[in-house]
């Protein structure tokens, strides 16, 4: 499937990328996280188990076992700090 992936705040800065498109063979948000961790370096570090980050699919925060629809807009970001 094709995904559009967005990164925000500290993750955008750490990864040095705000947005990318990805041809992805996995099924769930958790699969995507594993795929990104495998890039190593800051990716492995920031997305390691126990690190706090959120995943949104088509602009709704989801649990990691959520299936990704084709052409989904997926966003990874730190816990929010507005208000």
């Amino acid at each position: 499937m094709k995904l559009r992936i967005l990164y925000f705040a500290r993750l955008r800065e750490c990864f040095g990328v705000a947005e990318e498109t990805l041809d992805f063979a996995g099924a769930t948000a958790a699969d995507l996280v594993v795929h990104l961790q495998a890039r190593g370096g800051v990716w492995a570090e920031e997305l390691a188990a126990g690190r706090a980050f959120r995943v949104a699919v088509n602009q709704d925060i989801v649990a990691l076992d959520t299936a990704l629809p084709d052409h989904a807009e997926v966003a990874l970001f730190p816990p929010v700090t507005g208000g």
Partner: protein, 151 residues
């Protein structure tokens, strides 16, 4: 219902006046304004920049207001959140809730703020004498939101 994400300042008086203009059924308007502080985590903050997720932000705020409307009988809700660079003392966020009686207005206003802090995709980066730092989410904010859903 009015939901706005903007870089410009807002005027609490004007927003509250706009809610009750031309109607006589409103008996109470409760409002909250959050301001940028000059101190956080024990060190001075000279400025902060608020980043957000355009598109999702508006959707998340609308969802919060829908949830408040489902829980209480509200006559109008205004939520305004600023983005961009702000200085200490600058207003960041406004929530105003109109209802027939004060109880629902007070409670719904607090509910919306508590959920905004944990659900709406905004992130603060502070400028300090030691450089820039991203604000970390607080466990106390999660607890404040969780108390609205007793298990």
């Amino acid at each position: 219902m009015k939901i706005r994400v903007q870089s410009e300042a807002f005027d609490l008086g004007a927003e509250v006046a706009a809610m009750s203009k031309g109607r006589t059924d409103i008996g109470a308007i409760a409002s909250f304004v959050g301001l940028a502080r000059d101190l956080n985590e024990g060190s001075g903050v000279t400025a902060m920049t608020l980043e957000h997720y355009p598109g999702m932000t508006e959707k998340a705020l609308a969802k919060l207001v829908d949830e408040a409307n489902a829980r209480w009988t509200l006559l109008d809700v205004t939520v305004i959140h600023r983005v961009g660079r702000l200085l200490p003392g600058d207003p960041i966020v406004l929530v105003a809730v109109a209802s027939q009686h004060r109880g629902e207005a007070f409670t719904a206003c607090e509910f919306i703020m508590d959920y905004l802090k944990t659900e709406a995709p905004f992130w603060k980066k502070e400028e300090t004498a030691d450089g820039e730092r991203w604000v970390e989410a607080r466990v106390s904010d999660d607890a404040a939101a969780a108390r609205w859903n007793p298990s």
